[in-house]
């Protein structure tokens, strides 16, 4: 599964990941591989990207996430 975390200023993360935990507006949730297509808005919180080599966290102040074809794009 490919995860991208993008802000208008730069790309924070782009690469292969095992899962990604997101602060969705309707409650925190985690997207794994083969997640169904989804568009959700995000609240202020922390995005946790879990990769084979460890975890990376990014604080976001709201945003949008799109999950499609094993690709998760987080617009922070």
């Amino acid at each position: 599964m490919i995860v991208e975390v993008i802000t208008p200023d730069k790309v924070l993360f782009s690469g292969e990941a095992v899962s990604v935990k997101l602060p969705g507006s309707g409650g925190s949730f985690e997207a794994l591989a083969n997640h169904a297509p989804l568009i959700s808005s995000l609240d202020k919180g922390t995005v946790v990207v879990r990769t084979d080599s460890g975890e990376e966290t990014f604080d976001v102040s709201g945003g949008i996430v799109e999950v499609l074809n094993n690709k998760v794009v987080v617009l922070a």
Binding site: P8, S25, L38, S41, E66, N69
Partner: protein, 295 residues
């Protein structure tokens, strides 16, 4: 014939001017590269956002709660956001913007009650004696240009628009085409025209294709995405303006360096002529003196 010392001083002063313009050109080239990089880096964000927005666009028009963004009202109160630079010496960059604002005020919005918001000092300096309704609260936005700052400017504008303070918001800026070409553009950012996002999107592959589930609901999503898209648009105009400024200055300084070179060339010719004339006069005097002694 110009006197030798005078010409020498002028050559020296032109040379030092040339050095300054050359240095300024180099500085602008570096800043231009950075500014272009910023544009490139925000493009994936803007494309994705527009893509998602297009996925939702069809339902957007039916949502009653979102009509505030699309409503075309009679143009009574208009906000013009003017992007200019903080410094001069950048060719026609600012004067083109000022001209465009004047033409908007004189033609399209001659009947409306216009407020002008300045981002960057130069345009403000041109208008400060006029009787316009001016907003200078974010004039220094270009000193620290980043998404967070611009988004909070955008939030304030959107809030005022939804509250009915403005009926239309337009941004005047120099669109960056390449270092030598900037296009003065007056872009309408509010009310929102969904078609304009469609055009701006380069990434169209997933449009309408997938069967997305939407969380929390399409309406809530849209009320988060639409303002975000408007703010991103504002941010893009500012990044474009910034890149245009440096491009424009680079070209202006290049021209100035070239002109200085030409002036130096002509002055040197003059100098050599004057020196030759002085030598000739001197020889004539010596020969004449010697002839008089012998005589």
């Amino acid at each position: 014939m110009a006197n030798l010392k005078e010409v020498r001083t002028r050559i020296a002063s032109t040379q030092s001017t040339q050095q300054i313009t050359k240095a300024m050109k180099m500085v602008s080239a570096t800043k231009l590269r950075k500014a272009q990089q910023a544009i490139t880096q925000m493009r994936p964000y803007a494309d994705k956002l527009n893509g998602i927005l297009m996925n939702l666009a069809d339902s957007a028009k039916d949502e009653q709660a979102l009509q505030g963004y699309f409503e075309h009202r009679e143009l009574k109160n208009v906000l013009i956001v003017v992007n200019s630079s903080d410094r001069g010496l950048c060719g026609g960059f600012n004067s083109n913007i000022i001209k465009e604002v004047k033409s908007l005020l004189g033609n399209k919005y001659s009947e409306a009650n216009v407020e002008v918001k300045f981002l960057g000092k130069k345009a403000y300096e041109a208008f400060k004696r006029s009787k316009l309704n001016m907003n200078t609260s974010d004039m220094e936005a270009f000193l620290d240009l980043n998404a967070d700052n611009v988004f909070s400017i955008g939030d304030a504008i959107i809030e005022d628009f939804l509250a009915g303070k403005y009926d239309e918001v337009r941004v005047v800026y120099n669109k960056f085409k390449n270092a030598a070409t900037q296009i003065v553009t007056a872009e309408k950012i509010l009310p929102v025209e969904l078609e304009s996002f469609d055009k701006a999107t380069e990434e169209k592959e997933n449009k309408y294709l997938a069967d997305f589930s939407f969380e929390p609901s399409k309406k809530d999503l849209l009320s988060s995405i639409i303002p975000r898209a408007v703010k991103t648009q504002l941010y893009r105009t500012m990044l474009d303006s910034q890149a245009s400024e440096h491009g424009s200055r680079m070209v202006a300084m290049d021209k100035a360096t070239e002109n200085a070179g030409e002036i130096i060339y002509n002055l040197k010719l003059q100098y050599n002529q004057a020196r030759q004339a002085a030598i000739t006069t001197e020889i004539l005097e010596i020969v004449g003196g010697a002839a008089a002694l012998e005589g």
